[in-house]
Protein backbone atom coordinates (compact mmCIF):
# COMPACT_ATOMS: atom_id res chain seq x y z
CA UNK A 1 0.00 0.00 0.00
CA UNK A 2 1.45 3.34 -0.97
CA UNK A 3 2.14 6.05 1.51
CA UNK A 4 -0.61 8.34 0.29
CA UNK A 5 -3.30 5.64 0.41
CA UNK A 6 -2.28 4.90 3.95
CA UNK A 7 -2.59 8.53 4.88
CA UNK A 8 -5.93 8.82 3.22
CA UNK A 9 -7.21 5.78 5.09
CA UNK A 10 -5.90 7.17 8.33
CA UNK A 11 -7.58 10.51 7.68
CA UNK A 12 -10.83 8.77 6.87
CA UNK A 13 -10.65 6.62 10.01
CA UNK A 14 -10.00 9.58 12.27
CA UNK A 15 -12.80 11.55 10.67
CA UNK A 16 -15.25 8.72 11.27
CA UNK A 17 -13.94 8.50 14.83
CA UNK A 18 -14.58 12.19 15.34
CA UNK A 19 -18.10 11.89 14.00
CA UNK A 20 -18.87 8.98 16.32
CA UNK A 21 -17.50 10.93 19.27
CA UNK A 22 -19.67 13.90 18.32
CA UNK A 23 -22.74 11.69 18.38
CA UNK A 24 -21.73 9.77 21.49
CA UNK A 25 -20.96 12.71 23.75
CA UNK A 26 -24.44 14.27 23.84
CA UNK A 27 -25.99 10.81 23.97
CA UNK A 28 -23.92 9.85 27.02
CA UNK A 29 -24.68 13.10 28.80
CA UNK A 30 -28.37 12.66 28.03
CA UNK A 31 -28.39 9.07 29.26
CA UNK A 32 -26.59 10.00 32.50
CA UNK A 33 -29.11 12.76 33.11
CA UNK A 34 -32.06 10.52 32.38
CA UNK A 35 -30.77 7.75 34.63
CA UNK A 36 -30.12 10.24 37.42
CA UNK A 37 -33.57 11.78 37.07
CA UNK A 38 -35.11 8.35 36.72
CA UNK A 39 -33.57 7.08 39.98
CA UNK A 40 -34.62 10.18 41.90
CA UNK A 41 -38.15 10.06 40.58
CA UNK A 42 -38.81 6.37 40.99
CA UNK A 43 -40.51 6.69 44.38
CA UNK A 44 -42.73 9.57 43.37
CA UNK A 45 -43.90 8.44 39.96
CA UNK A 46 -47.35 7.05 40.52
CA UNK A 47 -50.92 7.84 39.72
CA UNK A 48 -51.43 10.03 42.77
CA UNK A 49 -48.50 12.19 41.71
CA UNK A 50 -50.23 12.83 38.42
CA UNK A 51 -53.64 13.43 39.96
CA UNK A 52 -52.77 15.50 43.05
CA UNK A 53 -52.40 19.20 43.53
CA UNK A 54 -49.23 20.74 44.92
CA UNK A 55 -48.89 20.61 48.66
CA UNK A 56 -46.58 21.74 51.41
CA UNK A 57 -45.91 18.11 52.18
CA UNK A 58 -43.66 16.77 49.46
CA UNK A 59 -45.02 13.24 49.51
CA UNK A 60 -48.58 14.48 48.99
CA UNK A 61 -47.75 17.00 46.30
CA UNK A 62 -48.73 16.28 42.71
CA UNK A 63 -48.33 17.75 39.27
CA UNK A 64 -51.91 17.81 38.07
CA UNK A 65 -52.34 21.60 37.58
CA UNK A 66 -49.00 21.84 35.80
CA UNK A 67 -49.76 18.94 33.49
CA UNK A 68 -53.25 20.16 32.64
CA UNK A 69 -52.00 23.74 32.33
CA UNK A 70 -49.24 22.70 29.96
CA UNK A 71 -51.60 20.72 27.76
CA UNK A 72 -54.12 23.60 27.61
CA UNK A 73 -51.40 26.13 26.94
CA UNK A 74 -49.80 24.08 24.17
CA UNK A 75 -53.14 23.38 22.53
CA UNK A 76 -54.02 27.09 22.56
CA UNK A 77 -50.55 28.11 21.41
CA UNK A 78 -50.54 25.64 18.54
CA UNK A 79 -54.07 26.62 17.55
CA UNK A 80 -52.94 30.24 17.22
CA UNK A 81 -49.36 29.97 15.99
CA UNK A 82 -49.67 27.18 13.43
CA UNK A 83 -52.41 28.61 11.19
CA UNK A 84 -50.99 32.13 11.38
CA UNK A 85 -47.44 30.92 10.85
CA UNK A 86 -48.25 28.66 7.91
CA UNK A 87 -50.47 31.36 6.43
CA UNK A 88 -47.70 33.92 6.72
CA UNK A 89 -45.23 31.51 5.13
CA UNK A 90 -47.60 30.82 2.24
CA UNK A 91 -48.10 34.53 1.71
CA UNK A 92 -44.40 35.35 1.86
CA UNK A 93 -43.34 32.44 -0.30
CA UNK A 94 -46.13 32.23 -2.85
CA UNK A 95 -47.69 35.66 -3.09
CA UNK A 96 -45.43 38.45 -1.87
CA UNK A 97 -43.33 40.24 -4.44
CA UNK A 98 -39.58 39.84 -4.11
CA UNK A 99 -37.91 43.10 -3.17
CA UNK A 100 -36.35 45.06 -0.37
CA UNK A 101 -39.43 44.68 1.82
CA UNK A 102 -39.39 40.91 1.46
CA UNK A 103 -35.68 40.86 2.27
CA UNK A 104 -36.23 43.03 5.32
CA UNK A 105 -38.97 40.72 6.59
CA UNK A 106 -36.76 37.73 5.93
CA UNK A 107 -33.87 39.13 7.99
CA UNK A 108 -36.20 40.18 10.77
CA UNK A 109 -37.81 36.76 10.97
CA UNK A 110 -34.44 35.10 11.35
CA UNK A 111 -33.52 37.58 14.07
CA UNK A 112 -36.84 37.18 15.87
CA UNK A 113 -36.34 33.44 16.03
CA UNK A 114 -33.17 34.09 17.99
CA UNK A 115 -34.53 36.66 20.47
CA UNK A 116 -34.33 35.42 24.11
CA UNK A 117 -37.66 34.15 25.32
CA UNK A 118 -37.75 36.50 28.33
CA UNK A 119 -38.08 39.40 25.89
CA UNK A 120 -41.22 37.81 24.51
CA UNK A 121 -42.43 37.54 28.10
CA UNK A 122 -42.00 41.28 28.58
CA UNK A 123 -43.72 41.97 25.26
CA UNK A 124 -46.57 39.66 26.26
CA UNK A 125 -46.90 41.38 29.61
CA UNK A 126 -47.15 44.81 28.02
CA UNK A 127 -49.23 43.87 25.00
CA UNK A 128 -51.58 41.10 26.07
CA UNK A 129 -51.83 41.55 29.83
CA UNK A 130 -51.83 45.34 30.06
CA UNK A 131 -52.72 46.94 26.71
CA UNK A 132 -55.25 44.42 25.47
CA UNK A 133 -56.23 43.62 29.03
CA UNK A 134 -56.37 39.83 28.92
CA UNK A 135 -55.14 39.64 32.50
CA UNK A 136 -52.57 37.19 33.78
CA UNK A 137 -54.35 34.13 32.50
CA UNK A 138 -54.03 31.18 30.18
CA UNK A 139 -54.90 33.18 27.07
CA UNK A 140 -52.27 35.84 27.67
CA UNK A 141 -49.72 33.06 28.23
CA UNK A 142 -50.72 31.24 25.07
CA UNK A 143 -50.60 34.46 23.03
CA UNK A 144 -47.11 35.13 24.31
CA UNK A 145 -46.00 31.60 23.52
CA UNK A 146 -47.56 31.87 20.07
CA UNK A 147 -45.52 35.01 19.42
CA UNK A 148 -42.44 33.21 20.62
CA UNK A 149 -42.76 30.27 18.26
CA UNK A 150 -44.26 32.14 15.32
CA UNK A 151 -40.91 33.02 13.69
CA UNK A 152 -39.80 29.40 13.92
CA UNK A 153 -43.04 28.16 12.39
CA UNK A 154 -42.80 30.69 9.57
CA UNK A 155 -39.16 29.96 8.82
CA UNK A 156 -39.64 26.20 8.81
CA UNK A 157 -42.79 26.40 6.69
CA UNK A 158 -41.11 28.67 4.16
CA UNK A 159 -38.23 26.26 3.95
CA UNK A 160 -40.66 23.42 3.31
CA UNK A 161 -42.54 25.40 0.65
CA UNK A 162 -39.28 26.30 -1.03
CA UNK A 163 -38.36 22.67 -1.52
CA UNK A 164 -41.40 22.13 -3.74
CA UNK A 165 -39.96 22.30 -7.26
CA UNK A 166 -41.11 25.00 -9.64
CA UNK A 167 -41.93 22.30 -12.20
CA UNK A 168 -44.66 20.94 -9.91
CA UNK A 169 -46.29 24.35 -9.59
CA UNK A 170 -46.02 24.88 -13.35
CA UNK A 171 -47.75 21.55 -13.88
CA UNK A 172 -50.72 22.84 -11.93
CA UNK A 173 -50.76 26.26 -13.59
CA UNK A 174 -50.62 24.65 -17.02
CA UNK A 175 -53.84 22.80 -16.21
CA UNK A 176 -55.58 26.10 -15.63
CA UNK A 177 -55.36 26.18 -11.86
CA UNK A 178 -55.39 29.53 -10.11
CA UNK A 179 -52.63 30.43 -7.73
CA UNK A 180 -54.74 29.51 -4.74
CA UNK A 181 -55.77 26.18 -6.24
CA UNK A 182 -52.15 25.44 -6.99
CA UNK A 183 -50.97 26.38 -3.52
CA UNK A 184 -53.72 24.68 -1.57
CA UNK A 185 -54.09 21.47 -3.55
CA UNK A 186 -50.65 20.83 -4.99
CA UNK A 187 -47.95 22.78 -3.16
CA UNK A 188 -49.15 22.52 0.44
CA UNK A 189 -49.70 18.75 0.38
CA UNK A 190 -46.18 18.27 -0.95
CA UNK A 191 -44.73 20.64 1.65
CA UNK A 192 -46.86 19.33 4.50
CA UNK A 193 -44.41 16.86 6.07
CA UNK A 194 -41.78 19.59 6.22
CA UNK A 195 -44.23 22.04 7.72
CA UNK A 196 -45.21 19.47 10.31
CA UNK A 197 -41.57 18.98 11.26
CA UNK A 198 -41.29 22.70 11.90
CA UNK A 199 -44.46 22.59 13.95
CA UNK A 200 -43.08 19.74 16.07
CA UNK A 201 -39.87 21.60 16.76
CA UNK A 202 -41.56 24.84 17.69
CA UNK A 203 -44.23 23.27 19.87
CA UNK A 204 -41.56 21.24 21.67
CA UNK A 205 -39.80 24.46 22.41
CA UNK A 206 -42.98 25.98 23.82
CA UNK A 207 -43.52 23.01 26.14
CA UNK A 208 -40.20 23.55 27.83
CA UNK A 209 -40.34 27.32 28.20
CA UNK A 210 -40.87 28.80 31.65
CA UNK A 211 -39.32 32.25 31.60
CA UNK A 212 -41.81 34.18 29.45
CA UNK A 213 -44.72 32.63 31.33
CA UNK A 214 -43.34 33.71 34.66
CA UNK A 215 -43.20 37.25 33.35
CA UNK A 216 -46.71 37.08 31.96
CA UNK A 217 -47.91 35.79 35.31
CA UNK A 218 -48.23 32.03 35.46
CA UNK A 219 -48.46 31.08 39.12
CA UNK A 220 -46.02 28.77 40.80
CA UNK A 221 -48.42 27.43 43.39
CA UNK A 222 -51.90 26.66 42.30
CA UNK A 223 -54.46 24.35 43.81
CA UNK A 224 -57.08 24.23 41.08
CA UNK A 225 -57.36 23.53 37.37
CA UNK A 226 -57.85 26.31 34.84
CA UNK A 227 -61.61 26.76 34.50
CA UNK A 228 -61.64 29.11 31.58
CA UNK A 229 -59.56 30.80 28.99
CA UNK A 230 -58.56 33.64 31.30
CA UNK A 231 -58.05 31.51 34.36
CA UNK A 232 -54.78 31.64 36.30
CA UNK A 233 -52.61 28.68 35.45
CA UNK A 234 -49.27 27.01 35.84
CA UNK A 235 -47.23 24.77 33.56
CA UNK A 236 -44.89 21.84 34.09
CA UNK A 237 -41.58 23.71 33.82
CA UNK A 238 -42.70 26.32 36.36
CA UNK A 239 -43.88 23.66 38.78
CA UNK A 240 -40.56 21.85 38.41
CA UNK A 241 -38.64 25.08 38.89
CA UNK A 242 -40.62 25.76 42.04
CA UNK A 243 -39.82 22.35 43.51
CA UNK A 244 -36.16 22.55 42.59
CA UNK A 245 -35.81 25.81 44.49
CA UNK A 246 -37.15 24.30 47.76
CA UNK A 247 -34.49 23.37 50.33
CA UNK A 248 -35.99 19.99 51.27
CA UNK A 249 -34.56 16.92 49.58
CA UNK A 250 -38.06 15.36 49.02
CA UNK A 251 -39.09 18.20 46.80
CA UNK A 252 -36.09 17.49 44.60
CA UNK A 253 -37.51 14.03 44.02
CA UNK A 254 -40.79 15.67 43.07
CA UNK A 255 -38.91 17.83 40.61
CA UNK A 256 -37.27 14.74 39.12
CA UNK A 257 -40.66 13.09 38.73
CA UNK A 258 -41.98 16.30 37.16
CA UNK A 259 -39.13 16.26 34.66
CA UNK A 260 -40.01 12.71 33.68
CA UNK A 261 -43.63 13.77 33.15
CA UNK A 262 -42.50 16.73 31.05
CA UNK A 263 -40.23 14.57 28.93
CA UNK A 264 -42.90 11.94 28.40
CA UNK A 265 -45.45 14.60 27.41
CA UNK A 266 -42.99 16.03 24.95
CA UNK A 267 -42.14 12.62 23.51
CA UNK A 268 -45.81 11.72 23.16
CA UNK A 269 -46.56 14.95 21.30
CA UNK A 270 -43.55 14.53 19.05
CA UNK A 271 -44.35 10.89 18.47
CA UNK A 272 -47.86 11.78 17.42
CA UNK A 273 -46.61 14.39 14.99
CA UNK A 274 -43.97 12.08 13.54
CA UNK A 275 -46.54 9.33 13.14
CA UNK A 276 -48.81 11.73 11.25
CA UNK A 277 -45.95 12.89 9.09
CA UNK A 278 -44.86 9.39 8.18
CA UNK A 279 -48.37 8.40 7.30
CA UNK A 280 -48.59 11.32 4.92
CA UNK A 281 -45.13 10.79 3.56
CA UNK A 282 -45.83 7.20 2.63
CA UNK A 283 -47.82 8.40 -0.32
CA UNK A 284 -45.06 10.60 -1.59
CA UNK A 285 -42.43 9.60 -4.11
CA UNK A 286 -40.10 11.76 -6.12
Amino acid sequence: MSHSTLRRKLAERSFIGLCIAAVALPLIILIVLMVDVGIDSIDRLNWSFLSSYPSRKAEEAGIRPGLVGSVYLIALTAAMALPIGVGAAVYLEEYAKRGWLANLIEINLANLAGVPSIIYGLLGLKLFVRTIGLGRGLLAGACTMALLILPIVILASREALRTVPLSIREGAYALGATRWQTVSQVVLPVAFPGILTGAILSVSRAIGEAAPLIVVGALAYIAFLPDGINSPFTVLPIQIFNWVSRPQREFLDNAAAGIVVLLVTMLLLNGLAIYLRNRLQKRRYW
Binding site: R98, Y173, L175, T178, Q185
Partner: protein, 282 residues
Amino acid sequence: MSSAIEVKSAAKTNPNINLTLPDSAEKEGSLKTKFSIKNLSAWFGNQQAIRAISMDISEKQVTAIIGPSGCGKSTFIRCLNRMHELVPGTQVEGLVKFDGYNIYDKGVDPVLLRRRVGMVFQKPNPFPTMSVRENVLAGLKLTKSEQIKRAPETVERALQQAALWREVRDRLDEPGAGLSGGQQQRLCIARALAVEPDVLLMDEPCSALDPIATARIEDLIHGLAESYTIIIVTHNMQQAARVSNRTAFFLLGELVEFGKTNQLFTAPKDKRTEDYITGKFG
Protein backbone atom coordinates in the same frame (compact mmCIF):
# COMPACT_ATOMS: atom_id res chain seq x y z
CA MET B 1 -25.87 11.92 -48.98
CA SER B 2 -28.10 14.62 -47.69
CA SER B 3 -29.81 14.17 -44.39
CA ALA B 4 -33.20 14.87 -45.90
CA ILE B 5 -32.90 11.46 -47.45
CA GLU B 6 -31.89 10.01 -44.12
CA VAL B 7 -35.01 11.52 -42.67
CA LYS B 8 -37.06 9.73 -45.26
CA SER B 9 -35.41 6.39 -44.67
CA ALA B 10 -35.87 6.69 -40.93
CA ALA B 11 -39.52 7.38 -41.43
CA LYS B 12 -39.87 4.24 -43.51
CA THR B 13 -38.79 2.02 -40.64
CA ASN B 14 -42.07 2.74 -38.95
CA PRO B 15 -44.76 1.34 -41.21
CA ASN B 16 -47.62 3.05 -39.40
CA ILE B 17 -46.36 6.47 -40.22
CA ASN B 18 -45.48 7.78 -43.60
CA LEU B 19 -43.70 10.89 -44.51
CA THR B 20 -46.35 12.04 -46.95
CA LEU B 21 -48.49 14.44 -45.07
CA PRO B 22 -52.10 13.98 -44.08
CA ASP B 23 -54.60 15.23 -46.65
CA SER B 24 -55.41 18.24 -44.56
CA ALA B 25 -52.00 19.69 -45.37
CA GLU B 26 -53.04 20.03 -48.98
CA LYS B 27 -56.02 22.20 -48.20
CA GLU B 28 -54.11 24.35 -45.83
CA GLY B 29 -55.36 27.48 -47.49
CA SER B 30 -58.82 26.85 -46.09
CA LEU B 31 -57.64 26.22 -42.51
CA LYS B 32 -58.53 28.55 -39.72
CA THR B 33 -55.71 30.29 -37.94
CA LYS B 34 -55.48 29.29 -34.27
CA PHE B 35 -52.55 31.40 -33.20
CA SER B 36 -51.51 34.53 -34.97
CA ILE B 37 -48.19 35.73 -33.59
CA LYS B 38 -46.72 39.13 -34.40
CA ASN B 39 -43.30 40.38 -33.31
CA LEU B 40 -43.21 38.27 -30.18
CA SER B 41 -40.14 38.87 -28.03
CA ALA B 42 -39.41 37.51 -24.58
CA TRP B 43 -36.75 38.16 -21.99
CA PHE B 44 -35.28 36.56 -18.90
CA GLY B 45 -34.09 39.63 -17.01
CA ASN B 46 -31.92 41.48 -19.52
CA GLN B 47 -31.32 38.44 -21.67
CA GLN B 48 -33.53 38.23 -24.71
CA ALA B 49 -34.56 34.64 -25.37
CA ILE B 50 -36.74 35.11 -28.48
CA ARG B 51 -36.66 37.97 -30.95
CA ALA B 52 -39.59 39.38 -32.89
CA ILE B 53 -41.16 36.09 -33.90
CA SER B 54 -44.08 36.27 -36.31
CA MET B 55 -45.97 33.22 -37.50
CA ASP B 56 -49.47 31.89 -37.99
CA ILE B 57 -50.37 28.48 -36.61
CA SER B 58 -53.31 26.74 -38.19
CA GLU B 59 -56.06 24.93 -36.39
CA LYS B 60 -56.03 21.12 -36.24
CA GLN B 61 -52.52 20.92 -37.55
CA VAL B 62 -49.31 19.68 -36.04
CA THR B 63 -46.63 22.34 -35.97
CA ALA B 64 -43.13 21.24 -35.09
CA ILE B 65 -40.49 23.56 -33.66
CA ILE B 66 -36.89 22.56 -34.16
CA GLY B 67 -33.59 24.23 -33.46
CA PRO B 68 -30.43 23.82 -31.43
CA SER B 69 -30.47 23.75 -27.65
CA GLY B 70 -31.02 27.15 -26.06
CA CYS B 71 -32.51 28.77 -29.17
CA GLY B 72 -35.75 29.67 -27.39
CA LYS B 73 -38.11 26.87 -28.39
CA SER B 74 -39.39 26.29 -24.87
CA THR B 75 -39.61 30.00 -24.22
CA PHE B 76 -41.64 30.47 -27.38
CA ILE B 77 -44.29 27.88 -26.59
CA ARG B 78 -44.42 29.04 -22.97
CA CYS B 79 -45.43 32.45 -24.29
CA LEU B 80 -48.44 30.87 -26.00
CA ASN B 81 -50.13 29.88 -22.73
CA ARG B 82 -48.62 32.69 -20.68
CA MET B 83 -46.45 30.38 -18.62
CA HIS B 84 -43.38 32.48 -19.36
CA GLU B 85 -44.55 35.28 -17.08
CA LEU B 86 -44.61 32.91 -14.09
CA VAL B 87 -40.82 33.05 -13.95
CA PRO B 88 -39.82 36.12 -11.89
CA GLY B 89 -38.11 38.90 -13.80
CA THR B 90 -39.35 37.92 -17.22
CA GLN B 91 -40.93 40.09 -19.85
CA VAL B 92 -42.96 39.60 -23.03
CA GLU B 93 -43.62 41.97 -25.89
CA GLY B 94 -45.67 41.60 -29.04
CA LEU B 95 -48.99 40.21 -30.08
CA VAL B 96 -50.32 36.67 -29.73
CA LYS B 97 -53.82 36.25 -31.07
CA PHE B 98 -55.63 33.09 -30.01
CA ASP B 99 -58.86 32.61 -31.98
CA GLY B 100 -58.63 36.27 -32.85
CA TYR B 101 -58.14 37.63 -29.32
CA ASN B 102 -54.84 38.95 -28.07
CA ILE B 103 -53.95 36.82 -25.08
CA TYR B 104 -51.77 39.58 -23.68
CA ASP B 105 -54.68 42.04 -23.48
CA LYS B 106 -55.37 43.46 -20.04
CA GLY B 107 -58.72 41.72 -19.64
CA VAL B 108 -57.49 38.21 -20.44
CA ASP B 109 -57.29 35.82 -17.51
CA PRO B 110 -54.26 33.55 -18.06
CA VAL B 111 -55.95 30.89 -15.94
CA LEU B 112 -58.83 30.55 -18.41
CA LEU B 113 -56.42 30.65 -21.33
CA ARG B 114 -54.40 27.77 -19.88
CA ARG B 115 -57.52 25.62 -19.60
CA ARG B 116 -57.78 25.80 -23.38
CA VAL B 117 -54.07 25.67 -24.14
CA GLY B 118 -52.66 22.62 -22.39
CA MET B 119 -49.00 21.83 -21.96
CA VAL B 120 -46.69 18.85 -21.59
CA PHE B 121 -43.32 19.78 -20.17
CA GLN B 122 -39.82 18.84 -21.16
CA LYS B 123 -39.29 16.98 -17.87
CA PRO B 124 -42.12 14.84 -16.49
CA ASN B 125 -43.69 16.51 -13.47
CA PRO B 126 -46.42 14.32 -11.99
CA PHE B 127 -47.85 15.61 -8.72
CA PRO B 128 -45.91 13.74 -6.02
CA THR B 129 -48.72 13.40 -3.50
CA MET B 130 -51.24 12.03 -6.00
CA SER B 131 -51.94 8.56 -7.32
CA VAL B 132 -51.99 7.75 -11.03
CA ARG B 133 -55.74 8.29 -11.11
CA GLU B 134 -55.59 11.53 -9.16
CA ASN B 135 -52.85 12.80 -11.44
CA VAL B 136 -54.99 12.22 -14.50
CA LEU B 137 -57.96 13.91 -12.86
CA ALA B 138 -55.90 16.70 -11.31
CA GLY B 139 -56.88 19.28 -13.91
CA LEU B 140 -60.58 18.60 -13.48
CA LYS B 141 -60.31 18.60 -9.70
CA LEU B 142 -58.14 21.68 -9.45
CA THR B 143 -60.47 23.68 -11.62
CA LYS B 144 -63.64 22.11 -10.18
CA SER B 145 -64.77 21.03 -13.62
CA GLU B 146 -68.21 19.50 -14.07
CA GLN B 147 -66.54 16.76 -16.05
CA ILE B 148 -65.32 15.15 -12.82
CA LYS B 149 -68.66 13.37 -12.74
CA ARG B 150 -67.44 11.19 -15.58
CA ALA B 151 -64.16 10.50 -13.82
CA PRO B 152 -63.74 6.75 -14.57
CA GLU B 153 -64.34 7.22 -18.29
CA THR B 154 -62.07 10.25 -18.37
CA VAL B 155 -59.25 8.36 -16.66
CA GLU B 156 -59.48 5.46 -19.06
CA ARG B 157 -59.82 7.61 -22.17
CA ALA B 158 -56.92 9.90 -21.28
CA LEU B 159 -54.63 7.01 -20.34
CA GLN B 160 -55.59 5.12 -23.52
CA GLN B 161 -54.80 8.18 -25.60
CA ALA B 162 -51.46 8.56 -23.89
CA ALA B 163 -50.63 4.89 -24.56
CA LEU B 164 -50.35 4.18 -20.86
CA TRP B 165 -53.59 2.45 -20.00
CA ARG B 166 -52.40 -1.13 -20.41
CA GLU B 167 -49.41 -0.57 -18.17
CA VAL B 168 -51.19 1.16 -15.31
CA ARG B 169 -54.77 -0.05 -15.31
CA ASP B 170 -54.01 -2.25 -12.26
CA ARG B 171 -51.98 0.44 -10.54
CA LEU B 172 -54.34 3.40 -10.70
CA ASP B 173 -54.14 3.95 -6.96
CA GLU B 174 -50.38 3.78 -6.71
CA PRO B 175 -48.37 7.00 -6.59
CA GLY B 176 -47.93 8.63 -9.97
CA ALA B 177 -44.35 9.48 -9.21
CA GLY B 178 -43.60 5.80 -8.64
CA LEU B 179 -43.82 5.13 -12.38
CA SER B 180 -40.79 5.00 -14.65
CA GLY B 181 -39.61 8.21 -16.28
CA GLY B 182 -41.24 7.42 -19.61
CA GLN B 183 -44.45 6.33 -17.94
CA GLN B 184 -44.45 9.56 -15.94
CA GLN B 185 -44.17 11.53 -19.16
CA ARG B 186 -47.14 9.70 -20.64
CA LEU B 187 -49.00 10.26 -17.39
CA CYS B 188 -48.39 13.98 -17.84
CA ILE B 189 -49.70 13.73 -21.39
CA ALA B 190 -52.81 11.97 -20.08
CA ARG B 191 -53.19 14.68 -17.45
CA ALA B 192 -53.09 17.37 -20.11
CA LEU B 193 -55.58 15.50 -22.32
CA ALA B 194 -58.05 14.86 -19.51
CA VAL B 195 -59.11 18.50 -19.45
CA GLU B 196 -59.75 18.44 -23.22
CA PRO B 197 -57.96 21.61 -24.25
CA ASP B 198 -58.14 23.09 -27.78
CA VAL B 199 -54.40 23.29 -28.15
CA LEU B 200 -51.69 21.02 -26.83
CA LEU B 201 -48.20 22.44 -26.43
CA MET B 202 -45.66 19.64 -26.16
CA ASP B 203 -42.11 20.39 -25.14
CA GLU B 204 -39.99 17.45 -26.23
CA PRO B 205 -42.56 14.95 -24.98
CA CYS B 206 -40.57 11.94 -26.20
CA SER B 207 -37.13 12.79 -24.90
CA ALA B 208 -37.50 10.24 -22.08
CA LEU B 209 -39.26 7.55 -24.08
CA ASP B 210 -38.14 4.35 -25.77
CA PRO B 211 -38.80 3.89 -29.51
CA ILE B 212 -42.01 1.92 -28.95
CA ALA B 213 -43.53 4.47 -26.59
CA THR B 214 -42.31 7.20 -28.92
CA ALA B 215 -44.08 5.57 -31.84
CA ARG B 216 -47.26 5.34 -29.80
CA ILE B 217 -47.04 9.00 -28.83
CA GLU B 218 -46.52 9.87 -32.48
CA ASP B 219 -49.59 7.84 -33.37
CA LEU B 220 -51.41 9.67 -30.64
CA ILE B 221 -50.34 13.00 -32.09
CA HIS B 222 -51.64 11.94 -35.49
CA GLY B 223 -54.95 10.95 -33.96
CA LEU B 224 -55.25 14.06 -31.86
CA ALA B 225 -54.56 16.33 -34.80
CA GLU B 226 -58.08 15.63 -36.03
CA SER B 227 -59.53 17.61 -33.18
CA TYR B 228 -56.64 19.41 -31.48
CA THR B 229 -54.08 21.96 -32.56
CA ILE B 230 -50.68 20.64 -31.60
CA ILE B 231 -47.40 22.45 -31.29
CA ILE B 232 -44.50 20.16 -30.57
CA VAL B 233 -40.92 21.04 -29.76
CA THR B 234 -38.51 18.31 -30.74
CA HIS B 235 -34.81 17.72 -31.08
CA ASN B 236 -35.47 14.76 -33.29
CA MET B 237 -35.80 15.84 -36.90
CA GLN B 238 -37.12 12.48 -38.00
CA GLN B 239 -39.87 12.94 -35.50
CA ALA B 240 -40.64 16.42 -36.76
CA ALA B 241 -40.78 15.00 -40.25
CA ARG B 242 -43.03 12.14 -39.20
CA VAL B 243 -45.61 13.96 -37.16
CA SER B 244 -45.90 17.53 -38.31
CA ASN B 245 -47.63 19.36 -41.10
CA ARG B 246 -45.51 22.42 -40.74
CA THR B 247 -42.12 22.99 -39.19
CA ALA B 248 -40.49 26.10 -37.79
CA PHE B 249 -36.74 26.35 -37.44
CA PHE B 250 -35.45 28.56 -34.63
CA LEU B 251 -31.90 29.80 -34.24
CA LEU B 252 -30.55 32.10 -31.54
CA GLY B 253 -34.01 33.24 -30.61
CA GLU B 254 -35.09 34.02 -34.14
CA LEU B 255 -37.46 32.27 -36.47
CA VAL B 256 -35.31 31.40 -39.46
CA GLU B 257 -37.74 29.45 -41.56
CA PHE B 258 -41.32 28.28 -41.28
CA GLY B 259 -43.02 26.18 -43.90
CA LYS B 260 -44.55 22.90 -44.87
CA THR B 261 -42.60 20.13 -43.25
CA ASN B 262 -41.64 18.20 -46.35
CA GLN B 263 -40.61 21.36 -48.12
CA LEU B 264 -38.52 22.53 -45.16
CA PHE B 265 -36.73 19.21 -44.91
CA THR B 266 -36.24 18.51 -48.61
CA ALA B 267 -35.80 22.00 -50.02
CA PRO B 268 -34.99 24.49 -47.27
CA LYS B 269 -34.97 28.07 -48.42
CA ASP B 270 -32.49 29.37 -45.88
CA LYS B 271 -28.86 28.32 -45.84
CA ARG B 272 -28.89 28.08 -42.04
CA THR B 273 -31.84 25.69 -42.10
CA GLU B 274 -30.05 23.52 -44.59
CA ASP B 275 -26.90 23.50 -42.47
CA TYR B 276 -28.91 22.49 -39.42
CA ILE B 277 -30.90 19.69 -40.98
CA THR B 278 -27.88 18.30 -42.74
CA GLY B 279 -26.09 18.22 -39.41
CA LYS B 280 -23.46 20.85 -40.11
CA PHE B 281 -24.07 22.31 -36.67
CA GLY B 282 -26.36 22.02 -33.66
